[in-house]
């Protein structure tokens, strides 16, 4: 919260857009600002009415360098924008640095994301130190079509203006904590000697030689990838990682996603009855990749580029009682299966589960 707990005395607020950036179409700017206002009005009793009146509560403008508010902008990058806490005059106003590369997508800086953040200040919020929060100080791209206001921000703004008048309150994504014993994963893969644990729009990155676990947005590395990845595996020989969501898959090579992805999973040989893949791992010694779907699994030959005959087979027949597989990866000759907060270590040579542990055992908790 902002010291002094400034807030607007009424819920129906007005806003005015003073000018526009040359970097975007005017309609795209209007749309981005409207969407940003809706981020906050959809979780509080606040309403925002556009006006041309000079004394609008929230005045939004693009400004250049020293723009007479004692906080000059610094040119491209660095400080992108700022806003003032609720109050008369400059209070509530949002200033955007005209020199930034504003956009409606992943290029440069997404106007919607930045305005939504600044409006948090206009309503009385300060910065959050939750790296997944909208009110975190540094810029992080999220596809506007996938954006959901994080729980940290919902809690903050509702503490100032209360909840909406609805039976079911909106909730938002919580930032995964590496040492949360209840942490589960959507997908896991090795990647050039590191481990990548996917969860919602996040990725926990663990390097075997480093003690701490790095938390990043998936979009930081691959802006075009969706959140909620469901399966992933590395083809070490081709230095590729394949990521799966619903009935599509992407190939990533380092930071790049080659042209033509996503592709339908049926290209790999799945029958149309399969709608999504729960987990996958690849055994680089045999060139065989294992795909887990509900209680069955397929085996794919990376060299022949086709599914092997005699599949699908029951998971329980060949891997034991590991239940439905959320995520899997292979390293140091063992396969690690994740089911909820439990992890099974499987020895493909003896075809037995050799140990069981917590899902977060890789994070030095």
């Amino acid at each position: 919260f902002t010291p002094g707990n400034p807030k607007w005395k009424r819920n129906n607020l007005t806003y005015r857009i003073v000018n526009y950036t040359r970097k975007m179409r005017q309609t795209d700017v209007d749309e981005a600002i409207e969407k940003a206002l809706n981020v906050w009005s959809s979780v509080t009793p606040l309403t925002f009415q556009k006006t041309e009146d000079k004394d609008a509560d929230i005045v939004i403008s693009f400004a250049y360098r020293d723009h007479q508010d004692n906080s000059p902008f610094d040119g491209p990058n660095g400080q992108l924008a700022h806003a003032f806490q609720p109050g008369e005059g400059i209070g509530g106003d949002v200033h955007l640095d005209e020199e930034e590369a504003w956009s409606k997508d992943a290029r440069g800086y997404n106007l919607f994301i930045v305005v939504a953040h600044e409006l948090g200040h206009s309503l009385g919020l300060s910065h959050s130190n939750d790296p997944g929060a909208l009110m975190y100080p540094t810029y992080a791209y999220t596809d506007p079509n996938e954006f959901i206001l994080p729980q940290d921000d919902i809690d903050g703004i509702q503490a100032i203006y209360g909840q909406i008048n609805a039976a079911v309150q909106p909730t938002g994504p919580k930032t995964p904590q590496a040492c949360d014993p209840n942490l589960t994963f959507d997908a896991i893969t090795t990647l050039r000697g590191e481990l990548m644990f996917f969860k919602g729009r996040y990725m926990l990155r663990k390097h075997p030689e480093r003690a701490e676990t790095e938390l990043n947005f998936i979009s930081l590395f691959w802006p075009k990838l969706p959140s909620g990845i469901q399966a992933a595996y590395e083809n070490v020989e081709k230095d590729e990682v394949l990521l799966f969501k619903e009935d599509k898959y992407w190939v990533i090579r380092g930071y790049d996603i080659p042209h033509g992805y996503p592709k339908p999973i049926y290209r790999l040989g799945f029958p149309k009855t399969v709608k999504r893949v729960n987990a996958a791992y690849s055994d680089e010694t045999t060139g065989k990749t294992y795909f887990f779907v509900a209680d069955r699994y397929w085996r794919y030959d990376e060299n022949k580029k086709s599914m092997d005959q005699g599949y699908p087979r029951k998971i329980v027949h060949d891997f034991g009682k590991i239940g439905r597989v959320d995520a899997a990866f292979q390293t140091d000759g063992y396969v690690y299966f994740f089911h909820g907060t439990t992890q099974f270590q499987f020895d493909p040579r003896s075809k037995r589960i050799v140990s069981q542990r917590k899902s977060i055992s890789w994070f030095n908790c």
Binding site: P3, G4, S71, G78, L80, P131, P137, T138
Partner: protein, 84 residues
């Protein structure tokens, strides 16, 4: 003598750190020589405050991770101080 590259880097780093902490952590700088040591301590305290906020290792030194964070594009509103 021409400033060596490392000394130049050091000057740039100090400038980046001071500017960042002034902008976002309300660092007050006093360049009078007789209060230099106190200013230096003040800067270290503010640097620790910033590292604490971002969940970095609190070293009081402008290490790589801290400088990386300072170079990230961000909002111009301070992290710790009323913004009027």
């Amino acid at each position: 003598f021409p400033v060596g590259p490392e000394a130049e880097d050091e000057g740039q780093t100090l400038n980046l750190v001071e500017t960042y902490l002034q902008n976002f952590y309300n660092l007050q700088i006093d360049h009078h020589p007789h209060v230099r040591q106190r200013s230096k301590n003040h800067l270290v305290e503010k640097l620790k405050e910033m590292q604490e906020f971002f969940g970095l290792q609190v070293t009081g030194k402008p290490d790589l991770e801290t400088l990386e964070m300072m170079n990230k594009p961000r909002c111009g509103v301070p992290d710790v101080q009323q913004y009027m």
